[in-house]
Amino acid sequence: MLGINRRYLSDFDWPLLGIAMAIAAFGVLEISSAEPNPGLWRRQLVGIGIGLFVIFVTTVLDYRRIVNLAPYLYVIGVILLALVLTPLGKEVNGNRSWLYFGSFGFQPSEFAKLFTILLLAYYLSGVKKRPLDLRTIIIAGMIWALPTALVFLENDTGSALSYSSFLVAMLFLAGLRWRWVIAALGILVLAVTFSVPYVKTCKSYKCERIKAVYWPELAEKRFRYQNDQSEIAVGSGGLFGKGLRGSTQGTLGFVPEVHNDFIYAVASEEWGFLGSFLSLTLYLLMISRLIQIARRSRERVGVLLAAGVAALLLYHVTVNVGMVVRLLPIMGIPLPLMSSGLTSVVATSFGLGLAISIRLRRFVN
């Protein structure tokens, strides 16, 4: 185990922490602008504090020890996800993804994602085969399927899909045959193509949200509204934005969930293209950094773990920003570190902590 010594301090990934803190600080600023109620941004600061502590603990510990705990963590994660479906769970905005113990509530799926990444890394790194055989793929698929199914039952499609993001990335890195990759892509393209006519006529709220983006004239007005307002918020920001607290779309309530899933809309409105481009660049740098850590790792488990976290973050950023700029349908996916929410911030910090821990131990074997 690595103590806090000079090596810890000099090898620690300060740039990655710096990028993460810059994003988080920007998030606090925008939360305070979007929602004048000081409770929210103060809560977010508390979340960041907890997140820093989690990063510290995670980096002090050897990530391999954490990976060895993966089966237990995974079971805990699955139990928590199952509890959400019991009366302990609570429905917010149509998603039953909250778990309450008294007044303390959190979203188990945020942690369950990382626990699943850990178990996949644990399992796939133990399989010393390249390319992967079918049996491995099926077992990995089963590890993925259990939490995904539970989240799906919670009606949280966005989160359920996020599990696929790191499963695909980790299988790909662990040595999925190219012909399988191409076949999977082919099936995906066909599935999308054939589902188009169905989606166009279907009236469920999920279809409506898809139509609101790609075929707005077919969508019901109330579903288009959120997309319209978010689009207006971003567009009206212009090149330089309306300045801090200058948002009208956000603060006057036109954009929904403004401190949470749509925080990027307010940020774009207040800081314009300059601000939105810059924050997007920070995310790109963060993800690149995580991929870099994966590349530098001398161990299969480190590669898979860091890449899994990178894939998860990439998914979150893509889906959230994509939905704010009306390229993707609205899904309840928070923007990592910016959206208000303790669970999300702490879970993201845990993921970053794991990556930094991998980096710290890249030469140790």
């Binding site: 307002q229 036109f254 409105e269």
Partner: protein, 646 residues
């Protein structure tokens, strides 16, 4: 975890291959980044203007501040119609999820709302368009408005809307002259020929004049609405006001009405036996109307204060369904045979055409055999002169005078007095009536279109096809009073300077009579008319009940035979006319009175004129009340005096 050597697994090669695939992942991230950044560029840089405008439209609303309508005063500056600042409590329907909850809330916090009434209101609202708001309280009290404004954030669906209300402090008084106001209708807005269409700048919800001078002088009375530009949130709650253009009130209008005369005229109309009739009083020297009563009347406040409540809607429906037609202005829309009042026209025609002369005007009176029909006459005065014929209303005299005139000359004089045309009084929807002419007969009786001697004799004394409006008769009696100068009867005296609804400035305006004309009447002819009409009141004539001691009233009664096909009941009884003026040599006041289905004019209408003239005479000459009471008592033919004081 120690790397275990497995057959066919090379950890170095594994890491190398993973590294290549990680590069692919990195490129994927870069591609996604470029797509997202491109979209941001498209929205924020290329289309900034579009979205900036949409954001602005989102957050700002322009709310109208309704302008106060101009006040209406009588000729002496006494208030007849005003606009009161007032508020409606409304609910925006689309924001209401639970009507029961809202009902409880309203009943607890807004004064005077009943549950039954409210639930009926909500039920009715189901069938109204969704975007329209439901008025739950009109004329809300100060406390109501304060409560609503204090709870705007909690209950954004409840609002207090400014809505200045037209108020007629005298209720029914002069209702037919004033008219009433109401919201412009969709039909009017879309009708190209309507003065209130969209092209003229009207919009839904505008309050316009619906009848009376409110309608005629709508352009003067309407002010320019103001505007509030406010910032609202997504639920429409007002956050801040950015700009305010204050409304400019409409211009005040002074009418020719005299509240004192109007009041006594109303009182006189009130006890008409069938509860229907007309009283118009005017200044014969210029056509200014002092009083205008069409009885029964209505309270115009119903339309402006209660039009949106159930109670008010019922009242308005009742007004429309009432068989006595209170909304109908009998003064300008009722057409009646003129009866003997018409004899003056035949007189003027006969004198002007030389059929009779001032020196030699004697003609045989009494019944006459025309073909196989004998026309009876109530009078048998031998061969009276024209003055006696007028004052004693000698029917037989006029049968013969008519026959001597013949239709051509007779019709020429009907046209000279411009019967069959609108007088041009400043009230909407005036009727023209029907003339006693050959063309009219041919049109009305297509099977017996031929003009007979009977038609000539009947037309000459005021029957036949003849039907005219009381206002036409008023212009006629005014012309007779002043010797042939025919002024347009009117209600508009002047309007003060101000702004119109489009924001244009106007200076003060006075009434200009563009429609006056003269009927040639020699001094002798005029003298005969005056003598005859004076005699009718002050001699042994038919209009004695209009006599006012010292005031030299001239007048003429008429009994209009009712040609109604309804032969059963009272509705077939004759209409009683009186027309007159005073004093004889320098007329100041004239009146036309019609009591529907009341029988003989001398008994029913002349005493009412007497009471009005007496009151006028008393006030203008500063006489004491005792004199008045006596005169009125006598004037009303033994009935108890009915004097109404302010």
């Amino acid at each position: 975890m120690k790397p275990i050597k497995e057959p066919g697994f090379d950890p170095i090669e594994d890491l190398r291959q993973a590294g290549t695939r990680l590069e692919i992942l990195r490129y994927l991230a870069l591609v996604i980044f470029v797509i997202l950044a491109g979209r941001l560029w498209y929205l924020q840089v290329m289309n900034k203007q579009v979205y900036a405008e949409r954001a602005e439209m989102n957050r700002t609303r322009v709310l109208t501040i309704p302008a106060r309508r101009g006040n209406v005063f009588d000729r002496k500056g006494r208030l007849l119609a005003s606009s009161q600042p007032s508020y409606n409590i409304v609910i925006s329907r689309k924001d209401v999820k639970n009507f029961d909850e809202i009902s409880n809330l309203l009943i607890e916090n807004i004064s005077d709302i009943e549950r039954d009434w409210l639930s009926k209101r909500f039920e009715a609202a189901i069938y109204e368009p969704k975007y329209e708001s439901i008025v739950v309280k009109e004329l809300a009290s100060k406390e109501d408005v304060q409560w609503v404004e204090a709870h705007q954030y909690e209950y954004p669906m409840i609002r207090a809307e400014e809505a200045p209300r037209r108020f007629y402090p005298n209720g029914q008084l002069a209702a037919h002259a004033l008219g009433y106001v109401g919201e412009v209708s969709r039909t009017e807005l879309n009708d190209k020929s309507s003065p209130f269409n969209r092209e003229a700048g009207f919009k839904l919800g505008d309050i316009i004049g619906k009848a009376g001078i409110e309608r005629t002088y709508n352009e003067i009375l309407m002010g320019k609405d103001g505007e509030r530009r406010v910032i609202v949130d997504s639920r429409g709650r007002i956050q801040k006001e950015i700009d305010r253009i204050p409304p400019e009130p409409g211009r005040d209008v002074y009418l020719t009405l005299d509240l004192d005369i109007q009041k006594i005229a109303e009182a006189q109309a009130y006890d008409m036996p069938e509860n229907r009739g007309v009283i118009v009083v005017s200044d014969p020297t210029n056509g200014e109307i002092f009083a205008l009563v069409s009885h029964p009347s209505y309270d115009p406040n119903v339309f402006s204060l209660k039009a949106k409540t159930d109670e008010g809607k019922t009242e308005i429906r009742d007004l429309y369904e009432n068989p006595d037609k209170p909304l109908y202005n009998r003064v300008i829309q009722g057409t009646y045979p003129p009866g003997s009042t018409w004899k003056l026209l035949t007189t003027v025609a006969g004198l002007n055409e030389g059929v009779i002369t001032p020196e030699n005007s004697r003609i045989q009176d009494g019944g006459i055999q025309l073909g196989n029909y004998f026309m009876k006459s109530l009078s048998h005065l031998g061969a009276p002169d024209v003055v006696t014929a007028i004052s004693r209303s000698a029917d037989g005299y006029y049968y013969r005078l008519g026959l001597k005139l013949g239709p051509e000359r007779f019709e020429k004089w009907v046209r000279t007095f411009r019967f069959g045309e609108r007088t041009g009084i400043d009230l909407p929807r005036e009727k023209i009536g029907i003339l006693p002419t050959r063309a009219a007969k041919a049109m009305i009786y297509p099977r017996t279109p031929k003009w007979t001697e009977y038609d000539m004799a009947a037309s000459a004394f005021g029957q036949g096809t003849n039907a005219l409006t009381p206002i036409q008769l008023l212009r006629y009696v005014n012309g007779l009073a002043v010797g042939g100068q025919m002024y347009t009867p009117h209600l508009f005296l002047r309007a003060v300077a101000g702004t119109d609804r489009m924001g244009k400035k106007h200076s003060a305006v006075k009434f200009v009579d563009n429609n006056k004309f003269t009927v040639a009447m020699s001094r002798d002819t005029h003298e005969i008319v005056l003598k005859g009409m004076w005699g009718a009141v002050n001699g042994a004539g038919t209009a004695g009940a209009a006599h006012v001691e010292g005031f030299d009233v001239c007048g003429k009664t008429g009994t209009a035979q009712n040609v109604s096909t309804d032969k059963v009941g009272k509705n077939t009884k004759d209409h009683a006319w009186f027309m007159g003026f005073a004093p004889r040599d320098k007329p100041e006041i004239s009146a036309v009175i019609l009591t529907e289905n009341a029988g003989f004019g001398g008994k029913q209408s002349a005493p009412r004129a007497g009471a009005i003239f007496t009151d006028y005479y008393r006030r203008t000459r500063g006489l004491k009340d005792e004199v008045l009471s006596e005169t009125v008592a006598r004037g009303r033919a033994g009935e108890p005096a009915k004097v109404v004081r302010n």
